[in-house]
Symmetry: D2
Subunit: 382 residues, 4 copies
Amino acid sequence: MTLLEKYKGIRQRTEDICAPLQTEDYVVQPVADVSPPKWHIGHTTWFFETFLLKEHLKGYKEYNPDYNYVFNSYYETVGARVIRTDRGNLSRPTVKDVYSYRLYVDEAMTSFLSNHASGDLKDIIILGFNHEEQHQELLYTDIKYILGHNPLFPAYSSDTNVLEKQTSKNAFVSVENGLYEIGYTGEGFCFDNELSRHQVYLREYKISTALVSNEEYLEFILAGGYKDFRYWHAEGWDWVKTNNVQSPMYWHLFDGHWYHYTLKGLQPVDEKGTLNHISFYEASAYAAWKGMRLPTEFEWEAAAPHFNWGQRWEWTESAYLPYPGFAKAPGAIGEYNGKFMVNQKVLRGASQVTSPQHGRITYRNFFHPHLRWQYTGIRLAQ
Amino acid sequence: MTLLEKYKGIRQRTEDICAPLQTEDYVVQPVADVSPPKWHIGHTTWFFETFLLKEHLKGYKEYNPDYNYVFNSYYETVGARVIRTDRGNLSRPTVKDVYSYRLYVDEAMTSFLSNHASGDLKDIIILGFNHEEQHQELLYTDIKYILGHNPLFPAYSSDTNVLEKQTSKNAFVSVENGLYEIGYTGEGFCFDNELSRHQVYLREYKISTALVSNEEYLEFILAGGYKDFRYWHAEGWDWVKTNNVQSPMYWHLFDGHWYHYTLKGLQPVDEKGTLNHISFYEASAYAAWKGMRLPTEFEWEAAAPHFNWGQRWEWTESAYLPYPGFAKAPGAIGEYNGKFMVNQKVLRGASQVTSPQHGRITYRNFFHPHLRWQYTGIRLAQ
Amino acid sequence: MTLLEKYKGIRQRTEDICAPLQTEDYVVQPVADVSPPKWHIGHTTWFFETFLLKEHLKGYKEYNPDYNYVFNSYYETVGARVIRTDRGNLSRPTVKDVYSYRLYVDEAMTSFLSNHASGDLKDIIILGFNHEEQHQELLYTDIKYILGHNPLFPAYSSDTNVLEKQTSKNAFVSVENGLYEIGYTGEGFCFDNELSRHQVYLREYKISTALVSNEEYLEFILAGGYKDFRYWHAEGWDWVKTNNVQSPMYWHLFDGHWYHYTLKGLQPVDEKGTLNHISFYEASAYAAWKGMRLPTEFEWEAAAPHFNWGQRWEWTESAYLPYPGFAKAPGAIGEYNGKFMVNQKVLRGASQVTSPQHGRITYRNFFHPHLRWQYTGIRLAQ
Amino acid sequence: MTLLEKYKGIRQRTEDICAPLQTEDYVVQPVADVSPPKWHIGHTTWFFETFLLKEHLKGYKEYNPDYNYVFNSYYETVGARVIRTDRGNLSRPTVKDVYSYRLYVDEAMTSFLSNHASGDLKDIIILGFNHEEQHQELLYTDIKYILGHNPLFPAYSSDTNVLEKQTSKNAFVSVENGLYEIGYTGEGFCFDNELSRHQVYLREYKISTALVSNEEYLEFILAGGYKDFRYWHAEGWDWVKTNNVQSPMYWHLFDGHWYHYTLKGLQPVDEKGTLNHISFYEASAYAAWKGMRLPTEFEWEAAAPHFNWGQRWEWTESAYLPYPGFAKAPGAIGEYNGKFMVNQKVLRGASQVTSPQHGRITYRNFFHPHLRWQYTGIRLAQ
């Protein structure tokens, strides 16, 4: 596949994800972590315009200088006019305007990629692809948040195949102690945070081949897990009490039965289904209640060939930190990962809404420990 | 004009105000005081459905029980499912859905009013008209806020006649001391807070026949009015410092020139124009700087025959309190005014975006002293 | 009594109020509205030093220039070193240091008053006396807050005569309609906010000769008064829910019995006692539940000769606003009252912890409507 | 030395640290992280009473059941009376009361230790010693905070030898790659978080033998380090802007010269002195500006024999996480360390206010990355 074909495929997939939306769904931002879908549409476009077209396409005319301001997530270098631009407050540019912008950039990129199919810009082009794939997953999770927190519980799509999946029974495999190679190696794309490959010494451990199911987690709820501080980190316990947390996100107890919002609308919780939308604090408390623990990201990577992964982002015990020898790229691209390396937890694997081909065994996802709107789950270790 | 004709005229005017909007403009809520336009469209409809159709139209079928929850501003009686419904987070019901709801209710109301043109429900029907007229003004001010706080500064309409108006020179008239009748009298509609008519004794005072102009207020800014605590209430001074207030809302200093956002877009401040969008704190500080004061609402009402009013809501010194003999209506309608009678200031007059025929010399508008998104101005007294 | 004798008496009384305190009690500030007792001791001293000694006593040497910073409540004119000085965070100056400062100023004042017993400084001297008397009452209420919010519930003094008082049965007197003179007249001292005397027209009304008792208020609690939004202002209802208010301040329900903290320690609530420590919101809700209302400050002043007052500060319906003709004094003294004339409610009367001779029928006390740590009660009107 | 002699020595040292304090200094709590000295005095006493005397000394009579409530830092198990007990709001128990409690427990402990000098309680006794030593360091840092944030800048003690120390020139030593043993081994005391000893593979690295000096850090300030987002974590940059951070804690720029508060009072910053009181964010930004990085806690431990440590707690890049095989103790003692293992950074070494003999090469101290009131410094790695 040429870069141009790949570009077109990825760009099309983003629009396909948004196809079931109403105009209004593109606009709102119920919480800070969720971005309005139209912002994702514009921001992924801005990425190609800013790092390729404006710098490398001769004669390219910027679509609208104000859009740099509206669709930039790298705020630190922005100066001048100081107006608060909480994304969810912006009714303009309209969805139609944003798609016009997208079309304009796509046409320029088509012309650009026809002539630059290879060479020294390939890295930044591929980065743009991966960047857009990350936002495709965020589109799914942000749309789910927007519709799932609406009191009408509208479905995203009735014929979606993006359902909650089923899991299998827990079974533990043992991994021997020794030195393991961690981090990306190979010719393909990876993010800077997966480099550089290095050795980590691991003690012998056991790790489950299955993710925790809804049924198993319900036992924790019924056993009073949310009411017993002993299973929780001090900050997790504060989080439970402050937010009165009693179940995973999207779960509702109606008339004694558990329902959860899915992309198909409100559904009874499937007991055999894989647990979804829990925070690191909940993952850790569940493991403590089971007398076990979460794996480190190194244990996960060393054991991953032994199990299937890809239903949920799996919380690990590891903090998100630079690998030995990690170096930021110069310039704005260098802000991509490094500056977030404090107070976040690593999640490994991929989820059922991760873009196809986007996952890697060395992939390091990261979120703050209280967040739950991603497709997150639990794999136990001991 | 029959009640039905009046109904149709008022309902049409609401839709006319929204005609220039894009779908996205209907959805957002940049601050708590501003409601999304689609909420105004739905809420005014809900009022007629709830207080007339559901209670008094035989065989009326509620459009959607969930809408009672979404469009109700009288939250106290709502129970059951507790989901946070910040209005600006709701992408559903869509704008099209809301207009369908509106059409459904309008059809039922047409049938209803054809048969109930008079009688004991007239009061609540007329209250519904006035309620909708209040929301028409809020539509103007909320739309202005939504567009005027967008970094693209889009115009509401280029051919709007809703421009900032000009004022005349200050000139003071004297009013003699004595007992004055205050409050509504007559056969027409008024709100409960304008009743009951009573006597107030006033000392002799002088009051300006003109509103303060932009030019006059600029003198206050240039004289350092925002930097000298002596002119301000203690809470006003806190407000200035906390929010770094340096000018009226919508004013921007670009390259040494003052611009302000208007419904036609960003415009240079017209020095002869009438000052707009200031808080009670600013109105009071300006008056103190001039060595004068704001009138009380009683002084205003007694003097109003001597000047033109209707460009701005004019801040008075008076707190919003019940008149002697004030009594709340029973039931939900009784929540209309009385429960807000603490910590707010009375504004008198009307503004250029007040609905025609909505103003009255006895009308008591009220807002918290820091708010500025309404069309507010200053009339001096001494 | 000479000014000097009066000075000595008032200064001594302040120290007498503090006599039962432990050193530690002088230091803490549990909430922003409460000041540490040592601050009151220093601030009342600072007042005499700043407005009399430093300006008018030849050769007076300021005790410590830093104290101007520490004991000044008129922060607006303070510049230079910006260090946060939350009063309750300051362990220094020590209590002993503050009393040394007090002694130093008292000696200078003694010398000063021996020579300036009359003349043009008398007004500011008398203002200093009244200022200190206001802080004497605050000492009682702040000490009560400090000790009453300690989990050990220590008594202020076992032999205090500052007990909760008893009230009599409600009985209403009628006051005829007509013009009434409001505001201070006479030769003695009054605050600027009681001037200038003016006429107010009042409708006929009835007002109770007694304050509401604990027993009567318990009926309101038992009838679910704190759970029914209909009796409350919208902001009052928010306050109830946000703070989970279920009873007056200092009340505790232990094993089904109501106790309240008093200056003698924790005591069973005396049913015949006069209700104490309620907010304006509670006062207003109680009155609404009784089908009555609170009096305005003008109704109160006109009727006050008909009843005894002095147990509680009585919430009125009136907002704290300038009287017609009110003018601020020039300079820092002008900050005394005027700048607080927004968002506060007038309380009339005096309380059992008000300094003797400090009360006046024209006295206008004022607090924000949610505050309850003063000795506040309810007198009904209709 | 017997356990009893050791007990007496440690308990005496705590009181010696407090000897220069005024009563008032014992009471205040300027920020949540700082505890009032009297709380430390009481809490360390409560530890021995709760875990030894009440459980293991036959016939021991609890001094005051309410003290369990006041001096307990393990709030999760506390129920019943819910009164907010912000430590700095409590004037009672008085300092004298707390010392009486301390004396009472010391006498019981003397009797207890005379009979239990060895055996199965030794572990908990030794834990109590180490617990008290931790609070001794906190006493120094909390007292410094209390006095250093007072606008009078009172000295703790003029003859203190607890001065800011000097550092030497940076010089880097190399450590070879390979497997290193990490964690405590031996017979003496260590905390549970230092266990269990395990192997970590390290790449070759260089680490400085000296801590960063004030002079070196001033270069960073002068080079605009606090104004260039590129050196900072995203959360660090937010912290800088939100708090307007421009220098280490306790530094003040007066008339163009840098001063800092020390336990001897306000002093000019000694350019050769060792940098003190910086957050992890500042440490990391400084390292980035130098083109270097902070060591991991494993690199630190492996290299520590090559340099002197003990002036500052040294921020490492490592997050505070459980070692492989970490297990919490059962019961309340198990809350000691494990529940804090999220969102905190490890500091290694010890500081000049750490209790003698308290430091260890395997010691893992931990704080949130924004905190600076401990004696913290920077050691560079590359």
